[in-house]
Amino acid sequence: MPQTGNGSREQILQRVRDALTKPAAPPCVGPPRPIFALVGDLLERFQKECAITLTECTVTQGTESSREAITSILDSLPAGDFYIHDTPQLRSLIEGCTANRSVRWSSEGPPLETTQVSLTLAEGLVALTGSIVTSSGCGGRGASVVPDCHIVFATIDQLVPDLEAAMALIQQRGLPSKNSYVGLITGSSRTADIEKILVLGAHGPRRLAVVLQNR
């Protein structure tokens, strides 16, 4: 259902083409060279970056200790709904550790305004920047931004070294054509709009916690 025509499309394109018949000087730059130092130990770097961006990162050994890590985060939070990305992996992981929270699975609809905490998988993790790669396939768009606390469950083999590798991963998995949203998340929601002072939890999660399972 097109809302209206495409406006001044032809006119703008014609003006662009006319302008481009005149060449402009290329930017004055040196030969290409590496921009970032190579990342050595992926896990070590990821943990270091998490510390800088105030992302909580817990490395666990096996399902049982992941379950414990998640329970301990849940226990530290005030009462409220628990929103979970509906996948078999998380269904089996979360069995018995939802505490006394009412659970809403992503298959039942998007997170509600009152959602206290969410648990999702990630598409990948970036060591260079301590980021998680997410998409609407990870429990929807709201899962990572509506709740007060976002818990990400990931495994160590999901770590990629840098942003180039992250972009390659997004492309290779065809995420842009399979998802209407793809994103990198680095830390919890924050603002420094008042006197450049950092405050966490501007609109979205105050806490971002990554439970990283070593298997």
Partner: protein, 471 residues
């Protein structure tokens, strides 16, 4: 002199000597500088990163038509709408039309300089649509009924007590000046807006041609909420926001974050390619992208200044600029402030009305030095000055003064005579006690500063004497 130029001088005069303003700005810029330097040190080669970004944006501009068409094809193939707006009016009207067709009463906006440029909010409000700015800084200036002070930090000119006072007046319930409490108060208010909002309007930091997605960078997460919860999403961007490949973001994202705030990466680096798909949990029902020209194709046509279109609106040149630091953002009277605004505004709104901004510069080159996409900003300021003179857009008094100066400089005798006359005149002004008064010919300079004593002899006289003595 145009009204805009007069207004600029008046406000610059006022702000330069406003000590409270100076203190607030200095604090903001000092903290930016230390974060920016720390951010740069996280790159192994920051200069290489700048080179790469300049190349990416130059490549995009060199085939702008092809990349725009590629972007449009991918977006429309997924059911999104792409609207091409030649000017502000077309862009504004499109948004209003979409809003009316869908019976929209409440709009939530994430930060977008393009919507400031086209003055979107007044039109929507006039048509009975409630508009919420959701970036905290934007929300603050919206409550104050002010334009953004700075393209990245809109409320840079306010301190916590200003904001506490404002919130108390407009929202109520303020107990302290503590930024954490103030943010929490705004959060409660704005979350209501997010969940009630029917249409989300965002800008775009980049338009990625090969995957047909828009890229939005926000720290607060408001960009995410604006594009996740309402049933319609409209993204508005200038046509120069296009980049060829998704892979380019591996460099552009960290560079934008570092140049903008000194962060390694903005908290939410978001890519959106369409409305909610059938297999997805949430997201809007409609996705629109408005591509805005509004003078950009004319800038593309100016081969000398085409590189201005590489701008990623990081705001670094504002922070670096000694003029911005003294006169502040509102003095410019433009959507885009600082060096980039002084270069860009004459192209968007006319050289006649806005050439004065290019004269408000020390040509120190700090802007060019900091620009992450290597725009030759200070030379463009110089070119704008030249263009203003050549097109007869400068006052006749200035032309007369320069003709006189030229005539004087072309003869040693005249130079000597007028130098002597000037010294005598200045001495007389001081003896009569007129220094710093309106009768002082140097009033503009001496009203805030003591004029130094002129030496009894000119350089020329001293040279003649010493030269004769040494011979």
């Amino acid at each position: 002199m145009t009204t805009a130029a007069q207004e600029f001088l008046r406000k610059a005069d006022e702000k330069s000597f406003d000590l409270r303003h100076r203190k607030t700005i200095r604090q903001g810029i000092d903290s930016y500088e230390s974060a920016h330097n720390k951010g740069k040190s996280r790159f192994s080669d920051w200069e290489a990163a700048r080179d790469r970004c300049a190349q990416i944006k130059a490549e995009a501009l060199s085939r702008l038509d092809q990349y725009l068409i590629q972007f449009e094809e991918v977006v429309t193939s997924r059911g999104g709408y792409v609207f091409w707006a030649a000017n502000s009016e077309e862009a504004r009207n499109y948004v209003l039309e979409v809003a009316k067709k869908n019976n929209i009463k409440t709009v939530v906006k994430s930060k977008s300089m393009v919507t400031e440029e086209i003055h979107l909010n007044p039109l929507l409000e006039k048509n009975g649509i409630e508009v919420w700015e959701t970036d905290l800084g934007e929300y603050i200036v919206q409550l104050r009924n002010e334009p953004p002070y700075h393209i990245v930090t809109p409320a840079m000119h306010l301190n916590r007590s200003d904001i506490a006072k404002l919130f108390q007046e407009k929202i109520g319930g303020v107990q302290t000046n503590d930024p954490t409490q103030l943010v929490a108060l705004a959060r409660r208010k704005l979350r209501q807006a997010f969940f009630a909002g029917e249409m989300g309007i965002s800008g775009a930091n980049f338009l990625v041609a090969d995957c047909g997605m828009i890229a939005i960078n926000t720290n607060e997460g408001n960009g995410r909420l604006c594009t996740s919860l309402p049933r319609i999403h409209i993204a508005m961007a200038g046509i120069e926001k296009i980049i060829p490949h998704l892979q380019d973001l591996a460099t552009l994202w960290p560079v934008l974050a570092t140049a903008g705030t000194g962060q390694h990466l903005t908290t939410y680096c978001t890519l959106i390619g369409g409305a909610r798909r059938n297999d997805e949990v949430d997201g809007p029902e409609q996705f629109h992208v408005v591509l805005l020209d509004n003078g950009r194709t004319e800038l593309l046509d100016d081969t000398e200044q085409r590189d201005v279109l590489r701008c990623i609106r990081c705001g670094a040149c504002l922070n670096a600029c000694p003029i911005f630091r003294n006169v502040g953002g509102h003095t410019y009277g433009t959507t885009y402030q600082g060096p980039i605004g002084s270069v860009l505004t004459p192209h968007l709104r006319g050289l006649k009305e806005f050439n004065h901004l290019s004269f408000a510069s020390s040509l120190c080159g700090a802007c060019t030095e900091i620009c992450p996409v290597r725009i030759d900003l200070h030379h463009h300021l110089l070119q704008n000055r030249r263009n203003a003179v050549n097109s007869g857009n400068r006052p006749w008094t200035e032309r007369l003064a320069f003709s006189f100066w030229r005539w004087m400089m072309l003869s040693p005798r005249r130079f000597r005579f007028f130098g002597w006359l000037g010294r005598k005149l200045m001495k007389a002004v001081r003896m009569l006690g007129l220094s710093g008064t309106r009768l002082d010919p140097m009033y503009k300079w001496t009203k805030y500063r003591a004029a130094p004593d002129f030496p009894a002899q000119s350089f020329r006289e001293m040279w003649m004497r010493n030269h004769a003595a040494n011979r």
